[in-house]
Symmetry: C2
Subunit: 184 residues, 2 copies
DNA sequence: GTCTATAATTTGATAGAC
DNA sequence: GTCTATCAAATTATAGAC
C-alpha cells in the first residue's frame, strides 16, 4: 500500500516524531520540511493534505506495531507480555515520546474522521492480540484483562512522560506482569 | 488565589471543554470568546496570554479534583476506590472528554514550562493520595500500585474515548477494583 | 521532485475608544 | 470590561517554473 520513496519515509519519520512530542495540531508542514531539508510545498507533493499525512502516520505506525506483535506469538505467556511491555518502554525511553495513537486519540475531536477510525483500529488490534494471547495460555479470552493491560501501559507512558519520571512506567510494567502472573 | 469574576469562570469552563476535546493547541481565543459571547480581545483582559490561560486551567482543574479527593478520605478502602474511579468515569461519560492533564501531558513538549510543572503536580497529587489510602488500609504505602491505578484509569479514558466504547473503561474500572481487593 | 511565489485563513496579541 | 480595528506571524494549500 505505502510507496517506498525515501523522502516520503523521511517525512513520515520526522512528522511522527513531532506529533508524538507535541501533538498533531502542533506539527506543521514547514517544521517537518525543515527537518528533512526540503520546502513545505514539496511536502505537499508526497502528502497533498495534512489529513492524508496524518492517516499515513497512523497506518504506518499500526503496521509496524503489528509486525512486532506477530513475532511474539511463538513465545510463552510471560515472555510474550514482557516483550509486549518492551514495545511501550521503547516508545517512552528510546523514542522519548508517547504513543502516536494515544495523542491522536486524545485530540480526536479536532481530527478528521479517517484518522479517528485508524486510531481506533490500532487499539482494537492491541486488544485482540492480548485476548488471543490470554485465550491460548489462560484458557479464556478475557477482554477486560486485555483492556486493563493496554490502558495501564498507554496511561503509564503519558503519566511517566509528563512527570519526567521513568520509574512510574517501570512500576506499572512490573504491576502488569504480576497481575497476569496471578491469573496464570 | 483565583478571582471569582463570573466571566473569568465562564471562559475557564469553555476553554477547558475545548482543550479536553481537541487539545491545548487547538483551543483558540476566538473560539472560546465565541463560546461565552464576547470578543477575543476581551478574553485577553482576563488572561493576558494563552500560556496564562493554560496555567489557570490546570491549576483550577487540580484544585477541583483535590477537593473531591479530600472528601473521600473518610471512606473505607473499596468505597473510596469506587468513588475515585467515579471521578474518572464522570470525566469520560458526563463531560464526554478526556482528563485535562492527560492531554496537557501528551502535548507537553509544545507547552510552556509552567504548564508542564502544574501538570506534573496533578499526577503527583493523585499518586500521593492513593499511596496514603493504601498506607492507611493496607498497612504499606505501595507507590507502584498507586502508579498502576492512575495509569490504568488515565489510559482507559483515552482508549475508551478514542474507540467510542464505554465498555472498555468499565472493564478497566472493574479490573482496578479487583486488583486492589486482591491486595486487601 | 523540488523550487519560488503567493493566496487565503487563522492565530495570539496590542492600542485605544467607550 | 468589552468593544473595534489592526498587526505580525504562522498555517494549509495551490500554481507554475525548473
Amino acid at each position: 500500500m505505502s510507496k517506498k520513496s525515501p523522502m516520503r519515509e523521511k517525512i513520515l519519520q520526522a512528522a511522527e516524531k513531532r506529533v508524538r512530542a507535541a501533538g498533531f495540531a502542533e506539527m506543521s508542514f514547514r517544521d517537518v520540511a525543515s527537518d528533512v531539508g526540503i520546502k513545505s510545498a514539496s511536502v505537499h507533493y508526497h502528502f497533498p493534505t495534512k489529513a492524508e499525512l496524518g492517516e499515513a502516520l497512523v497506518e504506518e505506525y499500526t503496521t509496524r506495531f503489528n509486525a512486532f506483535l506477530v513475532q511474539l506469538d511463538t513465545e510463552a505467556l510471560l515472555p510474550a507480555i514482557r516483550s509486549y511491555i518492551a514495545l511501550y518502554a521503547k516508545a517512552l525511553i528510546l523514542d522519548e515520546a508517547i504513543c502516536l495513537c494515544a495523542i491522536m486519540g486524545a485530540e480526536a475531536i479536532g481530527l478528521p474522521r479517517e484518522i479517528n477510525e485508524k486510531t481506533r483500529t490500532f487499539f482494537e488490534m492491541n486488544l485482540v492480540w492480548l485476548e488471543n494471547l490470554f485465550g491460548k495460555h489462560l484458557g479464556a479470552s478475557n477482554r477486560p484483562l486485555a483492556a486493563m493491560v493496554v490502558s495501564a501501559l498507554e496511561g503509564a507512558i503519558i503519566v511517566s512522560s509528563a512527570s519526567k519520571d521513568r520509574k512510574i512506567f517501570d512500576d506499572v510494567a512490573e504491576e502488569v506482569i504480576q497481575l497476569i502472573a496471578s491469573r496464570a
